[in-house]
C-alpha cells in the first residue's frame, strides 16, 4: 500500500485534470437540477393522493396579508392592537404589584431594624437594592406578561415571516439582504438574540450591516420604558378617553421610526463603509398552523418574560446599590450623581434631555430595562421618598417636579430607541465579529444617530416655539 499522504496532492491534481477533461457543458448544472426536479415530480405524482380538491386558504390569506396595499395597514393594525392591549391591560396588575412590593419594603425595613443593622446598610439594602428591584418588577412584569404571549402568538401563527416578506422589498432597496427583516424582527425580542440571528445571512457584508443596525428596533427591555413614557406623555393630555389611543399611536409611531432608521442607516452603510450589491434569497412562507396555546404561554413566560426579568433583576440589585452610593456620597455638599448630572446638563439640554436623564442612560448600559428606574431614583434621591405606584405619580415626578415638557418625553423616547446597545448586545457583537473596530462602530453609530435626531427635534421645537 502506498502512503496515503504522498498520494494526496497527486490525487487532487488528477481530479482537477479529470474535471477539465470532462467539463463539457456550462448548462450541466441546470440539466442535473432539472432531472432531479422532474423525478421528484413523478414520484410525488405516484404516491400523493388528494381526496377532495382543497381550497387553498393559506394562499388566500397570504394574498391579503402580503398584498401591496393591504399588507402594511394590516401590519400596523396588528402591532397597534398588541400595544393597546399591553398598555390598557398592564395598568391594574402594575398597581397591585407595586402595592404588594412596597408593603414588602416596609417589612424589610422593620426586619433589618429588628436585626440591629446599621442605618447606612439599611438604606443601601432597602432604598437602594430593594426599591430598584421592586420598581423593575412592578413596572416591567405586567407589560411583559401581556406583550410577550401576544408576540409569540403572532410568531406561532406564522405571521412574522409574512412581515419579513412585506419588508423584503425595502431592505433590497437599502442594498442589504431581505433576511435582515427577520433578524430585525428578532431584535424586537432581544437585540442580542437578533445579532446572533444574523448568522442566517450568508454574505459577510450584509451580515455586518444587519448586526450594526439591529439595535434600532426596541427590544423587550426598552418596550416597557417606551410604553410607560408614552403613557406619561398621554397623561398630560388630560382627556382620559384619548390617552390610551394616543399612547398606542406614539409607541407604534416609534416602532415605525425605528424601522425607518434601520433602513436609512443600512442604506448609508451599504453606500459608504460596506459597499456591494444585495444577494438574492428565497423566503419560504411556512403554512399557517394552529398555535399551541399552552406551549406559547410556557415559552413566552419562560424564554422571554422570566429571561428578561431575571436579567433585569440581576443587574438592578447591584445597580440599585451603586446608584444609592452615588446619590448619597457627598463631595463638596453635592452627591456624585448631582456632580455628574450638572456636568452633563449643558450638553443634555442641547438634545432635549437633562443631566439626570443622560446619567440614567449611561448607568443603564448593563441593561436597558433599568434606565427608567435609575432615572426615578436619581430624581428621588435628593428629595423625599415617594411611592411610585401609578403612572400619575410618575407623571407628577417628571412633569411637575422636574419640568418635563412633551418635547422632553419625546426626546427621551427617541434617545431610548436609537442610543447605544446594552452591554449584553455589545458583548454579543464582539463575540460574533471578533473585532473591536466593529464593536466600537456598533456603539458609535447608534449614539451619533440618537444625538443627531434628538438635537434636531429639540432645536426644531424650540425654533417653532413649541413645548
Amino acid at each position: 500500500m502506498k502512503a496515503a499522504t504522498a498520494d494526496k496532492e497527486e490525487s487532487l491534481r488528477y481530479l482537477k485534470a479529470l474535471a477539465e477533461a470532462a467539463r463539457l457543458d456550462p448548462a450541466a448544472h441546470d440539466r442535473i437540477v432539472g432531472s432531479i426536479y422532474s423525478e421528484a415530480e413523478r414520484i410525488a405524482g405516484a404516491v400523493v393522493h388528494r381526496t377532495r380538491p382543497k381550497r387553498d386558504w393559506d394562499r388566500r390569506i397570504d394574498d391579503i396579508l402580503t398584498s401591496r396595499w393591504l399588507g402594511f395597514p394590516i401590519m400596523f393594525l396588528l402591532l397597534g392592537a398588541a400595544f393597546w392591549l399591553t398598555i390598557t391591560g398592564a395598568n391594574y396588575p402594575s398597581r397591585l404589584l407595586a402595592a404588594v412590593l412596597f408593603w414588602g419594603q416596609e417589612q424589610l425595613a422593620v426586619l433589618l431594624g429588628w436585626l440591629g443593622a446599621p442605618s447606612w446598610l439599611k438604606e443601601i439594602v432597602v432604598d437602594g437594592m430593594y426599591r430598584s428591584l421592586a420598581w423593575v418588577v412592578s413596572v416591567m412584569l405586567p407589560p411583559m406578561a401581556i406583550f410577550f404571549p401576544i408576540f409569540t402568538l403572532l410568531e406561532d401563527l406564522g405571521y412574522l415571516p409574512r412581515v419579513a416578506f412585506n419588508l423584503d422589498r425595502f431592505f433590497r432597496m437599502a442594498g442589504t439582504h431581505g433576511k435582515q427583516a427577520l433578524t430585525m424582527a428578532m431584535g424586537f425580542g432581544c437585540n442580542a438574540a437578533g445579532v446572533v440571528a444574523c448568522r442566517i445571512i450568508d454574505s459577510p457584508r450584509e451580515r455586518l450591516i444587519a448586526r450594526l443596525t439591529n439595535v434600532f428596533v426596541p427590544c423587550n427591555g426598552r418596550f416597557p420604558t417606551l410604553i410607560t413614557l408614552a403613557a406619561v406623555l398621554a397623561a398630560g393630555l388630560g382627556v382620559s378617553a384619548y390617552q390610551t389611543v394616543f399612547a398606542t399611536a406614539a409607541v407604534a409611531g416609534l416602532v415605525i421610526a425605528g424601522i425607518a432608521v434601520t433602513l436609512f442607516v443600512s442604506w448609508l452603510l451599504s453606500r459608504t463603509l460596506l459597499r456591494g450589491v444585495p444577494s438574492s434569497f428565497t423566503l419560504e412562507l411556512p403554512p399557517y398552523r394552529r398555535p399551541q396555546v399552552v406551549q406559547i404561554l410556557a415559552r413566552s413566560f419562560i424564554d422571554r418574560t422570566l429571561f428578561v426579568l431575571a436579567r433585569a433583576v440581576t443587574v438592578a440589585a447591584p445597580a440599585g446599590a451603586l446608584i444609592w452610593l452615588l446619590a448619597n456620597i457627598d463631595l463638596n455638599g453635592q452627591s456624585i450623581i448631582q456632580h455628574m448630572a450638572t456636568w452633563l446638563d449643558p450638553f443634555a439640554r442641547q438634545i432635549g434631555l437633562d443631566g439626570f436623564i443622560l446619567v440614567a442612560f449611561i448607568l443603564g448600559l448593563p441593561a436597558n430595562e433599568i434606565v427608567l428606574p435609575i432615572l426615578c431614583m436619581c430624581y428621588l434621591s435628593a428629595g423625599s421618598m415617594v411611592e411610585l405606584d401609578s403612572l400619575s405619580a410618575i407623571h407628577r415626578l417628571f412633569v411637575v417636579e422636574h419640568g418635563w415638557t412633551w418635547v422632553t418625553a419625546l426626546c427621551v423616547m427617541l434617545f431610548s430607541l436609537l442610543h447605544f446597545p446594552c452591554g449584553t448586545t455589545l458583548y454579543t457583537i464582539q463575540k460574533e465579529n471578533g473585532n473591536w473596530k466593529w464593536t466600537f462602530l456598533a456603539a458609535a453609530i447608534p449614539t451619533l444617530t440618537a444625538i443627531t435626531v434628538c438635537f434636531t427635534v429639540a432645536r426644531t421645537a424650540r425654533i417653532l416655539g413649541l413645548g
Binding site: 479529470l18 423525478e39 421528484a40 414520484i43 404516491v47
Partner: protein, 251 residues
Amino acid sequence: MGLTSNACGWSANRETFGIKRNGSIPVIALAGNPNTGKTTVFNALTGLNQHTGNWPGKTVLRAEGCYAFNGREYLVVDLPGTYSLLASSAEEQVARDFLCLANPDATVVVVDATCLERNLNLVLQVLEITPRAIVAVNLIDEAARKNIHIDCRRLAGELGVPVVATAARYGKGIDELKAVIAEMAGNQLSTSPRLVTYDTSLERSIRFLEPRLKDILPPYLSARWAALRILEGDPYIFNTLHHFFEGCGQR
C-alpha cells in the same frame, strides 16, 4: 492500492466534524428541509439528552443528542435544514460535507407530508450520496387534515429505501423509526436507492468519470455523486475532497 478506508479511517473524518465519541456508537444524521418538523423529530428521538453548539469553523448551529434503543446507544446529529445539497450556502455545505465525509451509519431524511414533491428533491440528492438512508414522512397528521394521503409503501418502493410515517409532535411513528434505524445501523437492511437517470450526454460523461474516481475515492464516497459535482463545475467539490484528504493526512 490507493486511498482506501484502511488508509483513511472514517473516524478521523468524524472527528473533524466535532464528533468526539469513538468506537462503536452508531452515528445517525438527521437531514431535511426547513419547517418540516426536523427539530421535533430530533427532540422526539433524543428527549432532553442533547447539547448544542457550532459546527467547527462555521457559525451554523449544530445539535446532537443520544438515545438508547434495545440496549444500544445511538448518536443523532441534527444537520442544518436545507432545500438542497448544492452547497450554495454555509448550511448546505455543512450538511453535504457531513454526509460525504463523516459517513453516518444511517441518515434520516425528514420530509413534510403536506408538500412532498419539493422535499423529494432533497431526498433524491441524499440518495446519490448515501444508500444508508431512511425517509421519515413527517406531519402526516397535518397532511391528513388537509386531505392529502401519502402511499408510504409505494414511496418506499419508488425510492428503494425504508419509509416511516411520523407525527413527531405526538410521538407517532418514532418507535418504528428507531427500529428501522437500529436495523440499518446494524447492517440488517439492504437498500437499492433510486438514482436519478440523467440525459444521455451526462450519463456518458458519468460513465467515463465514475470508474476513474472509484480508484482514488474511499469506497463509502459515491463516485457517481462526485462525478456529477465535477461535471456541473461545483466550486466546492474540491474543497470537500481536499478536506477528506486532509483527514487522511492527520493520521
